[in-house]
């Protein structure tokens, strides 16, 4: 089913920056604010950015909830860009009111912990969101960085079109479907709850960081057993970075684990797609229709409609 698309942005529109999860120092968003302004947007900085919190979170649950709620409800905002992920949305998501947001949707941008928001909004309201680098990523970006640039393209409503090199594990094919997915740990976390979504017909993408290899394996088996790998149109495997191994080695790397689990199915799969906790992390529209071509010489993911 086609998703509802928030209006794309034009020069002069305003973007809010909020930290619904982990803490972020105020100075870390400066490059982001400058870049957004150079793109012609106005910026509103939420109270949770560089807050007074002394612990892991960017504020208490109440403060983070209030800031996110204010951003969702603010009619003068056209998009909300999260400062960073970390952990924390699980604690507030069931208290967020999406009433005004549903009436006048706006783009929500982020990834990692923010995947819970994407999954929740897709599953409950079928409104498109943006899986993209966050404010922190602007710090290390060089001028003309294509990954940061993809955020601008997304916001302005350009049709997104990405390609990458083939990987030996790829399973070739061409499909069309709704793009959805994100961080594997967060996807596993949503299963069985109110943010869980059906994967039938989806171009499903996954990525993760810092997990033990056996936990990657365990979460994939959970998704498999929960039927999530049964009928997607295709699967895009992003980066699985900085993974850990046990004293007795697991014996497979993440891509080998995924290849083995997906060997039971026949749909196209591509590996090494530029999405994840790495610099190579293109903005993707969750809930939008895409065509994925996994070919011999290259992989192309392009938005259709």
């Amino acid at each position: 089913m086609a998703s509802i698309f928030p209006p794309y942005l034009k020069a002069g529109d305003r973007i809010g920056i909020v930290c619904p999860a982990g803490f972020m120092a105020a100075e870390r968003i400066v490059p982001c604010v400058n870049t957004l302004k150079s793109w012609g947007f106005r910026v509103k900085i939420g109270k949770t950015v560089g807050g007074v919190s002394s612990n892991y979170f960017s504020g208490t649950d109440e403060e983070r909830l209030e800031d996110l709620q204010e951003m969702l409800d603010d009619e003068d905002l056209s998009a909300i860009l999260c400062g960073r992920g970390g952990y924390g949305l699980s604690r507030i998501i069931d208290q967020v009111s999406f009433k005004k947001f549903r009436k006048s949707p706006k783009w929500i941008l982020g990834y990692s912990d923010i995947c819970l928001l994407h999954a929740h909004i897709y599953s409950n309201f079928e409104i498109a969101t943006a899986h993209s680098p966050m404010a922190g990523a602007f710090m290390d970006a060089v001028p003309g960085d294509p990954y940061i640039g993809s955020i601008r393209s997304l916001l302005l409503g350009e049709k997104l079109h990405y390609s990458c090199d083939p990987h030996p594990f790829n399973r070739k094919g061409e499909v069309e479907g709704t793009l959805m997915g994100g961080n594997l740990t967060l996807l596993a976390h949503t299963v069985g709850g109110s943010s869980d979504f059906k994967t039938k017909g989806l171009i499903l993408f996954i990525e993760d960081i810092w997990e033990y290899l056996y936990n990657i394996d365990r979460m994939l088996f959970q998704l498999k057993s929960a039927g999530k790998f049964q009928k997607p149109a295709a699967i895009i495997v992003g980066s699985f970075s900085e993974l850990k191994d046990t004293e007795r080695p697991f014996g497979q790397n993440a891509y080998e684990i995924i290849r083995d689990i997906l060997s039971a199915y026949e749909y196209p799969v591509c590996y090494g797609f530029p999405v994840g906790h790495v610099k190579e992390n293109f903005a993707l529209k969750c809930g939008a229709e895409y065509r994925l071509k996994v070919g011999k010489d290259k992989v192309v993911l392009e938005e259709i409609q």
């Binding site: 982990g22 803490f23 002394s54 612990n55 892991y56 979170f57 970390g86 952990y87 699980s90 604690r91 069931d94 596993a188 976390h189 299963v191 069985g192 709850g193 109110s194 943010s195 869980d196 056996y214 936990n215 394996d217 365990r218 979460m219 088996f221 959970q222 057993s225 929960a226 039927g227 999530k228 046990t246 007795r248 080695p249 697991f250 014996g251 497979q252």
Partner: protein, 343 residues
């Protein structure tokens, strides 16, 4: 076993109704009247315990202390093919671990199955196991940590009781060197297997929430339970006295796991909550989580009224008493003590 047939066997054996031990002549599993859970026949001397490694690997020498002790309790031992086998961290390839577990489940001469160790691997084979013969003739399955999956599977699919306890890799070379609680934890496996009533000393913790609750016992390793959501082994917790424990996780991950339990409806209808050992991974500098396990738990249960017990003797630690999952227990927490017992 059908309830009707069970009642018939009761009528034929009037003494049984009053006996604390199960019917030893028919060797049939019992049905717990109130809950419709089935309890495998308890063991008697001469019965056979099969040892298998459905998850991590265990060497043949590592299993020897368990063999010696289990034999001293009067049981025969059958060693599975996966003991001493190894495929990286696993006790053999998926197919081999599955076949070994299947053989143990199906073998009528095996009355209980003890897992060699936990580690990781049960989720890779649980959906391929054929439970038909096991369901006809249930037997005790013993283990914890990764074996939580097996207990949860029996909870979700078959309502057959099983034993959450230390495994072969925890049996000591020199029992005389063990601390009291550690040795008692090993002995509690025997107590559970032969069908003596369970009642454990629980150290009183001032953080406890007093109350009285009665329900089927279930639970296990928290991370393992989180990743069973949506699967055919997803724990059904309504009315349950739930116990959880974990090791080596960051506090923020533990918080996320409790939110998983909450968001999948596993915390709202409990009869009691037992918080076992949580040996957490220290926060990274600058990323202090700011909440203890106690804070995390109490936030989750603030809206409910069931008793909550901290410092419960279960988990990846020396004191880890055998618990009968699927059996009705009572948890009574007053302002100065905790009574936890099988009813």
């Amino acid at each position: 076993m059908k309830r009707k047939r069970f009642l018939g066997s009761l009528l034929g054996s009037p003494l049984l109704a009053a006996a604390a031990f199960p019917d030893e002549t028919s060797r049939q599993s019992r049905i717990s009247e109130a809950d419709n859970w089935r309890i495998p026949p308890y063991l008697k001397p001469g019965d056979t315990i099969g040892i298998t490694c459905p998850a991590g690997y265990l060497t043949e020498s590592e299993v020897q202390p368990a063999i010696i002790l289990l034999k001293s309790w009067g049981f025969n031992i059958r060693i599975g093919k996966t003991v001493g086998d190894r495929d990286f961290s696993f006790g053999g390839k998926d197919q081999e671990r599955m076949a070994d577990m299947q053989e143990m489940l199906d073998d009528p001469s095996v009355q209980a199955i003890m897992c060699g160790r936990g580690g990781y691997g049960m989720i890779r084979i649980i959906d391929q196991l054929d439970f038909r013969k096991f369901v006809e003739k249930p037997k005790w399955v013993v283990g914890f940590s990764d074996i939580t999956i097996f207990h949860a599977h029996l909870n979700h699919q078959y309502r057959i009781a099983s034993i959450h306890s230390k495994m072969c890799n925890s049996f000591p070379d020199h029992p005389e060197l063990l601390e009291k609680g550690q040795w008692e934890s090993i002995l509690s496996i025997q107590t559970a297997l032969i069908g003596k009533q369970i009642e454990y000393p629980v150290t009183y913790d001032a953080a406890n929430r007093p109350g009285l609750g009665q329900g089927i016992l279930g639970g296990g390793n928290l991370r393992t339970l989180e990743n069973l959501a949506g699967t055919a082994s997803d724990l059904k917790t309504e009315g349950m006295i739930l116990f959880v424990e974990d090791v080596g996780e960051y506090l923020y991950s533990i918080d996320r796991m409790f939110y998983s339990l909450k968001r999948t409806g596993k915390l709202d209808k409990l009869s009691g909550l037992l918080i076992g050992a949580f040996r957490v991974k220290p926060d990274d500098p600058g990323d202090e989580f700011g909440k203890s396990v106690y804070n995390i738990v109490m936030e989750q249960v603030a809206n409910y009224h069931y008793p909550v017990c901290f410092n419960f003797p279960v988990g990846h630690q020396k004191i880890n008493y055998a618990l009968k999952c699927g059996v009705r227990h009572e948890l009574n927490i007053s302002t100065e003590k905790v009574v936890f017992r099988e009813v």
